[in-house]
Amino acid sequence: MSHLDHPTTETFDANARAALTDMQLRGALRNATSLFGKRRLEASQSLDNWEELRSQARAIKDETLLHLDRYLEEFTANAERAGAQVHWARDAAEANGIVCGLARERSAHLVVKSKSMATEEIHLNAALEAEGIVAIETDLGEYIVQLAGETPSHIIAPAIHKTKGQIAALFTDKLGIAPTEDVAMLTSTARRVLRAKFAAADIGVSGVNFGVAETGTILILENEGNIRLTTSLPKTHIAVMGIEKVVPRFADLEVFLKLLPRSGTGQHLTAYQSLITGTKRHADDEGPDELHLILLDNGRSRMLGHAITRQSLACIRCGACLNACPVYQQIGGHAYGSVYPGPIGAVITPQLFGMAKAAQLPYASSLCGACREVCPVKIDIPELLLHLRAEITEGAEQSRQEAGGSRQGEAAIKRRRLERIAFKLWAAVMIRPWLYERSGRLFRVLQRFVVRGGKIGKVEGLLARVAPPLAAWTTARDLRPIERRTFREQWRDKPVD
């Protein structure tokens, strides 16, 4: 982000405007999202039962969520039986406390991390750093983003917003290598640097794509090999897993292995899958001595309370909705000011982190439905967005307390109050046809102030303040005026059929 250092959800509109002026970012987004979209489509067409798989996957998730307590208990029991230690974390602070506690007890100085949205969500790296523990991201894209002191801008391709040139400059600056834009060279530099970290690390931290209740197994997918290194070299492996990641049976993995790589990157399968069940059988086997699984709630259980919000938890973090979204395609991930951007981000960010702060996100959508079309687990994101919009307007007073009196928060409350009045007026007019017609005639008269040459051009100045939506529309678009004779007036004049 060139203009804003730490975009937050509260400044979404400003973030978006800034992103739109960044032509290089927009070019990168255009290339990436259209390429991913094309590949996803081709990959989905490589199977003739794609729709069936989507339905199956959704059914598995629905079943799991309706009995989440039972499956989590089963998962825990089986994982523990195989030697894992399972911890439960109500929120981010608790999860970080557990990781830091484990690190302290083991006198750990260096942690290697593989890509995990959950660990980003709880800001684990910052918590570790506060304890003087160095945490190094090992996924190439995450490593780049970490070196740059930024946050990821896409769920699957974290450094998508950076050009080769920017990455080259970054590596020269931070790693002292000779300037080069050769991608192979940059990659092998990262490989070399990170190999030393893998060898020296005390603890490896990973996420979890799926946790199998029936066997206590965790499944993690990747292409680079850093997850395998993170989870097999250091003596201690800590895996952070959102509670919604559990699936009932080992056999259920097949459906998700077919859907996730295709939806995320267009691959039929990623290069590596690690299926880890507990700890090694014998002391002299390969692998960590300890496995700690942290089951993270952090607002997820609350989403179970309504069928519409519950589907948010079906998400398998593939990123397909980001690539399909016309809004994300234009502004990228940082503008959302959240770990989770794009369509899925717009619905889970308010639910996980608070409606008041993230109230703009559900409105940052044209409701086109492209996301719903590509979602491998058929989450109806537009339905969710509409549900959240209704919650936001209805919860105005509650939001006031949550917003905590911030400037943006207060402004938003005032806007919403005016908006509510406007829609109440609108409804009162719309249920009275005579009033509807009178209003139309009134606007037809008033619009003379702004109609020039048969259309309404840019509305600025005082007029813009009186009618902000009019000003907003006409910044970039002309507007058709209300007609001299409306349809119903013409209908009245014609003889009835």
Binding site: A28, L35, A59, I60, E63, D69, E73, N78, R81, G83, H87, W88, A89, R90, G101, T138, L140, I144, I160, K162, K164, V183, T187, A190, R195, A199, T215, N223, E224, G225, R228, L229, S232, L233, I243, A251, L253, E254, L257, K258, L269, A271, Y272, Q273, S274, L275, I276, T277, T279, R281, D285, E286, G287, S301, R302, M303, L304, G305, H306, A307
Partner: protein, 258 residues
């Protein structure tokens, strides 16, 4: 915090989370009942241990069995090559050794070093290596983790493979594979055609065949060499894992002595 206090807090979090889940689900059930929604049916994906859709395990006439194996070799090879892996199909131990020799010879014409070869502890691997009679600086079985960083080639078997995806399936109970197949820049694997399953689902059933509690603690699926497209979407092969993957598929009498 004392151990007792820590434990108390642990139990506390678990109880709180489970209660939250139960309460929310109960609330949702009430709401759904009121709005007349259909209840979500409980689905059960039937797990059969009886084998795959194509009856590989059924003992039929040898010829038919062989035809099936061969028919899985071709898709396996196609899929593997599509992701940049190399596949050599051989018949019997002698040809397998010759194939291994040719791989190493080919590698020696590239800038990639080939003088230090790490072997997994699968018996067939050591046998095969001896049969090649290749001369390199060092051949070691199961080097230690820190040492493995310095090896050029890792040689393993695999316990199964998947035809529809070109995938190798490695199980820790049968072979010490995790690092030897990962750290050296070249990974060579030797498999028997008889161990190729048709589908992902078959492979999942297979690794679970002795029961849910008896699975290997670390199972790794390997499909092609390591890769990334994180820099401007440019595909780069060989990031943290191997940059070359060779699979020797033996159609002759099985090399694995199980």
């Amino acid at each position: 915090m004392s151990d007792a206090a820590i434990n108390q807090s642990k139990r506390g979090a678990r109880a709180v989370i489970l209660k939250s889940i139960r309460d929310q689900l109960a609330e949702s059930a009430l709401r759904d009942a009121a709005s007349g929604k259909e209840k979500v049916e409980q689905t059960g994906v039937v797990l059969s241990n009886e084998g795959s859709s194509i009856a590989v395990d059924t003992v039929q006439a040898n010829g038919q069995k062989n035809n099936l194996e061969r028919s899985l070799v071709r898709p396996f090879r196609e899929q593997l090559e599509a992701v940049g892996g190399h596949c050599l199909v051989v018949s019997g131990q002698v040809e397998a050794a010759r194939a291994l020799n040719s791989i190493i010879a080919e590698l020696q014409t590239t800038p990639l070093p080939t003088q230090r070869i790490a072997l997994s502890d699968a018996p067939l691997v050591e046998r095969l290596m001896r049969e090649t009679g290749v001369k390199v600086d060092e051949i070691t079985t199961s080097p230690s983790a820190p040492d493995l960083f310095g090896y050029d080639i890792g040689l393993t078997a695999a316990q199964a493979a998947i035809a529809e995806t070109g995938t190798l399936v490695l199980e820790s109970d049968y072979e010490r594979h995790r690092l030897v197949s990962l750290l050296p820049p070249v990974h060579i694997a030797v498999i028997d055609a008889a161990d190729i399953c048709p589908t992902l689902g078959d492979a999942l059933r297979r690794v679970r065949r002795r029961g849910p509690m008896e699975m290997s603690r670390a199972i790794t699926f390997v499909t092609g060499p390591s890769r990334t497209a994180d820099i401007e979407l440019t595909l780069t092969i060989g990031v943290h894992g191997p940059r070359e993957l060779y699979v020797i598929v033996n159609e002759g009498p099985p090399l694995t002595t199980d």
